[in-house]
């Protein structure tokens, strides 16, 4: 079936010799990062066949396995394929050698985040357990320095004028700066990834705008996720977490809007602008984001607990995952649980609401400040790869 390419002698000058640059350090890193089964692969290609999300032309993950075994880092990183993989783990379940291609590609993805994200040292720290306490110390110290250790007397209030949040001196500038830096870092990382892919693959597919539109549709519907067989239940769990993040994002935007617009106490008023917003509009806004926020919180907690239990259940077939996975899962779970708990304690007017809320803020900080370097970045890299796949015509 495969036809050998015959090179005529006179054509030899025209033949481009491809130089391979094996990076043995990379091989070791893949093995260390949860891809310890890498070397078991004997290239039978069962994985590429049972994979429902791979394209037919140059399918993955068989070729990624040999590229990783040979340390061909550039081949892996300049390709959308490692991110087109959704780690359904059908490959891992059917692998005759226990080489776990799903886990190996996950390890490669982690290293590729390290490779592209800026600054790189932070990525290496985020993905090593030994730096966990140090990284955690940053929000803890920042919050304590802002006065989070002080528990106010009187009824428990967080966001209302005069509430706990207002007593934290540096909280707004701190979180805003962090958010801007994280976004900047993400943008730079994604740009590096995009240009690396563009160098290696010509664009012959759909225009960028259409590619983005189609990708958004795919993601919203979880189209690829739904093709997974071994980890079928994962799609529902991931949908819950995914949509709850969107819900919580909307909640944050609306809440921030209220903080800006509120007469007398709002930011605009603070800077001397007098806005005329009706009280009923503001109350309506609060009711809407409270509903969205609480529903999202419930969905987030349900979804992340389902993800945890699915991972445990599938551990034998699909692998348990690595630090990179579990750090992210723990952060999301911690974020949801402390958020809900703080809310309940506040409603119950229990003073313990304050420390719980501070812990919640630490989770928020950790998740978003380190987003460009942790598994949180997967959504951006994967979305980029999906857009690129469509634009390059690989799909």
């Amino acid at each position: 079936m495969s036809e050998g390419v015959e090179v005529k002698v006179e054509d030899k000058d025209k033949v481009k010799v491809k130089e391979l640059n094996p990076d043995l350090g990379f091989v070791k890193e893949v093995i260390k990062s949860g891809g310890e089964s890498l070397k078991k692969c004997y290239q039978c290609a069962t994985c590429s066949v049972v994979c429902n999300v791979t394209p037919d032309d140059n399918p993955f993950p068989r070729k990624e396995m040999i590229q990783a075994q040979w340390g061909l880092k550039d081949e892996l990183f300049r390709n959308p394929d490692i991110w087109l993989c959704h780690q359904c783990s059908d490959c891992t379940a059917y692998c005759p050698r226990g080489a776990k291609p799903g886990e190996v590609l996950n390890a490669i993805r982690k290293i590729s985040i390290q490779e592209f994200s800026v600054p790189g040292f932070l990525a290496r720290m985020v993905n090593q357990p030994m730096f966990l306490l140090l990284l955690l110390a940053v929000p803890v110290i920042a919050l304590l320095a802002s006065g989070a250790g002080h528990i106010p007397a009187g009824p428990v209030e967080f966001g209302k004028p005069g509430g706990f949040l207002f007593s934290l001196k540096y909280i707004d500038p701190l979180f805003t700066t962090i958010a801007v830096l994280a976004l900047l870092s993400l943008f730079m990382g994604i740009r590096k990834y995009w240009s690396a892919m563009s160098e290696a693959h010509p664009a012959t597919g759909m225009p960028l705008g259409t590619a983005i539109k189609e990708t958004v549709k795919d993601i919203l519907a979880h189209k690829r996720f739904d093709k997974c067989e071994t980890t079928k239940a994962r799609s529902t769990a991931h949908k819950l977490v995914f949509y709850s993040f969107i819900g919580l994002f909307i909640t944050t935007v609306l809440a921030f809007g209220k903080i800006i617009l509120a007469p007398r106490t709002g930011y605009l008023a603070y800077f001397g602008y007098n806005v005329n917003v009706s009280a009923s509009l503001l109350t309506g806004l609060v009711v809407v984001y409270k509903i969205i926020g609480n529903v999202s919180a419930a969905a987030l907690i349900t979804g992340i607990l389902l993800i945890m239990s699915n991972r445990m259940k599938n551990a034998k077939k699909a692998g348990l995952g690595s630090y990179y996975d579990w750090l992210f899962i723990t952060l999301v779970a911690g974020l949801g649980i402390t958020g809900l708990l703080a809310e309940l304690l506040r409603v119950g007017n229990v003073q313990a609401a304050y420390p719980v809320y501070v812990i919640h803020l630490c989770f928020v900080f950790f998740l978003f400040a380190y987003a460009p370097f942790s598994k949180m970045a997967h959504m951006f890299y994967r979305a980029t790869a999906m857009v690129f796949e469509k634009k390059s015509g690989k799909a």
Partner: protein, 423 residues
């Protein structure tokens, strides 16, 4: 009084060889065989590789040697029940199931013709049915019918008895217990084809025209269900486009982690069956690695150079039904890096070998591997394992192994006798 002999468990090619070699050297031997006939898996084969000669000739010679040698005693439909371990002298209990037909049988087929019940034809791997009173196959040894009591109920057997002019049908035959005092034991329990329906992606049992390599042997064998004409099961069509799926269950931790050793040669051999019957047919062999050890490589070259035979590196990992009972296989051709879907008239799964001791371990106080194969190092003095009970092997290696084991068994037997004594 217990029978004094060297016990050979299993009457396939290994067991027959060990028994006959020891008997011809002057030692009494008992063969215990669970089937109603001797010859084992080899009797199901159409041809041997690499010479492509029919195995029945070799088996016939062995049966003649048994007939001429009073030192060989054999029990069919028999299984070892217990072994009391005493080094060099083993007390063995053998259970013999009733055959319901005695040695007056002349194989006239009258009982089968009169028999109202049917059973699945296990000799032909479930392809077709036989009467409940049946001869396992036309060259069976002993050449004697057998009644499958589980399929022949409620007066069914009486009809067989009434039809027999020779008084060969014995309805009140009971299970028997035979006591053997064995000076040595040769374990030649052989192998079973791996149940490849356990690989849910290869279509066995779900996709109509997917068969195993052993089924292909029966389809090609003159005494098989199609009288030797290779026809696909669903509609009896002549398959002109056949795929051979290598490593079906072998070299796979989810099934058999080891290489089954014979499957590549078997598929190459079966390609010659196909090309012999249908010169215009094509055979596609999908492999991870073609393993034709030692001098078998030459056989690979021979088949590789045949017209219409192609080899593709890439394991078939999806087998599905498609239009007109054809079979769709999916693989990645790893040399071109393309995922391909191809339709075939019929697909042959090169299913691997599983030691019979996996399903049916013998209690000899020995160790088995995780896959149920005997660990030779764990055998007690005087017990020898041969052939495919230890590792997947071909017929030639089994015969060599069994010949060596005959000598080892004789040495164990001699230790029981006074110095210089001959049995």
């Amino acid at each position: 009084m217990a029978e004094q002999c060297i016990l050979v468990i299993g009457g396939g090619i290994s067991g027959l060889t060990a028994a006959i070699e020891a008997a011809e050297a002057g030692y009494d031997v008992c063969i215990v065989e669970k089937n109603p006939y001797l010859g084992g898996r080899v009797s199901q084969l159409n041809k041997y590789f690499p010479k492509l000669c029919p195995p029945v000739c070799g088996l016939e010679i062995n049966y003649r040697r048994i007939k001429e040698n009073a030192r060989v005693k054999f029990y069919t439909m028999a299984q070892v029940e217990s072994v009391t371990a005493k080094e060099g002298s083993y007390d063995v209990t053998v259970k013999v199931a009733p055959r319901y037909i005695n040695d007056r049988c002349v194989s006239c087929d009258a009982c089968a013709q009169a028999c109202p019940a049917e059973r699945q034809d296990d000799f032909n791997l479930g392809m077709g049915r036989t009467k409940a009173a049946y001869l396992p196959f036309d060259q069976a040894y002993p050449m004697r019918y057998v009644i499958d009591a589980a399929s022949c109920k409620d007066g069914c057997m009486q009809k067989c008895k009434d039809a027999c002019k020779y008084g060969a049908v014995e309805l009140d035959m009971k299970p028997e217990t035979v006591k053997i005092n064995a000076s040595a034991i040769v374990v030649a329990t052989g192998w079973n084809p791996y149940d490849i329906s356990k690989a849910d992606n290869l279509g066995m049992g779900k996709v109509k025209n997917v068969i195993t390599n052993m089924m292909m042997e029966r389809l090609a064998a003159p005494n098989g269900p199609t009288a030797g004409k290779i026809l696909r099961p669903s509609d009896g069509k002549e398959p002109k486009k056949v795929a051979f799926v290598q490593c079906a269950g072998s070299r796979d931790e989810n099934h058999l982690p080891y290489c089954s050793y014979i499957c590549c040669m078997a598929s190459l051999k079966q390609t010659t069956y196909l090309k012999e019957q249908y010169p215009d047919a094509t055979a596609d062999i999908f492999y991870i690695d073609i393993r034709t050890p030692g001098r078998y490589e030459k056989f690979y070259w021979k088949v590789r150079d045949m017209e219409g035979v192609s080899f593709t590196k890439g394991k078939v990992a999806k087998v599905e039904n498609t239009e007109g009972d054809d079979v769709l296989v999916t693989l990645e051709d790893t040399l071109s890096g393309k995922k391909v879907r191809l339709a075939f008239d019929m697909v042959v799964l090169a299913a691997g070998m599983e030691s019979a001791t996996r399903q049916n371990p013998i209690q000899l106080g020995i160790n088995y591997t995780a896959e149920g194969m005997i660990v030779p190092g764990s055998l007690k003095p005087g017990i020898y394992a041969v052939g495919s009970s230890k590792s997947p092997v071909d017929v030639a290696k089994s015969v060599q192994d069994a010949t060596g084991a005959a000598l080892k068994a004789i040495q164990s037997a001699i230790k029981l006798l006074p110095a210089g004594g001959v049995r």
